[in-house]
Symmetry: C2
Subunit: 87 residues, 2 copies
């Protein structure tokens, strides 16, 4: 594996793993007042399209990282909608 691919994998792992602490915090506190609903709507649709793009270009790292990010972003979005309904 060349350095460029390794760099891409590190970048993808970081931008995917980044949403674990946000999901953990949202799940624990059930408070998402400061989290933007629009951000997670646009971001969730965006990573879904990135995953389809990954299939289109046949890139496994693009498919994998965006599929995982999609699940994480979707979960945060659901918690945000639940929070909004309560408040």
């Amino acid at each position: 594996m060349d350095y460029t691919t390794i760099l891409g994998l590190i970048a993808g792992s970081l931008t995917t793993a980044a949403f674990v602490p946000q999901l953990h915090r949202a799940w624990k506190t059930k408070s998402l007042e400061d989290v933007s609903l629009l951000t997670y709507i646009a971001f969730t649709i965006g990573v879904f399209l990135w995953a389809i793009y990954g299939f289109a270009i046949g890139s496994l790292p693009v498919i994998l990282t965006n599929s995982v990010t999609f699940v994480l972003a979707c979960s945060i979005l659901v918690l945000k909608i639940q929070h909004k309904k309560r408040s």
Copy 2:
């Protein structure tokens, strides 16, 4: 421009533009209690590496979308650190 490239550009525009409402909200309310610090640290480093990856593979869309996302994520991170210092 083929459909795949258009799909990639739409995906990139969405995952980049997604952070505008979060930055706007954070700037307006100055409240970032529910926003995860770790998320924005990892995400900011991640998109920076994606931008370098874009240079390495010579992909203008990857360079452009990640450079803009980097500026947005960096601004949210600075506001979060300022909020953390105050509280």
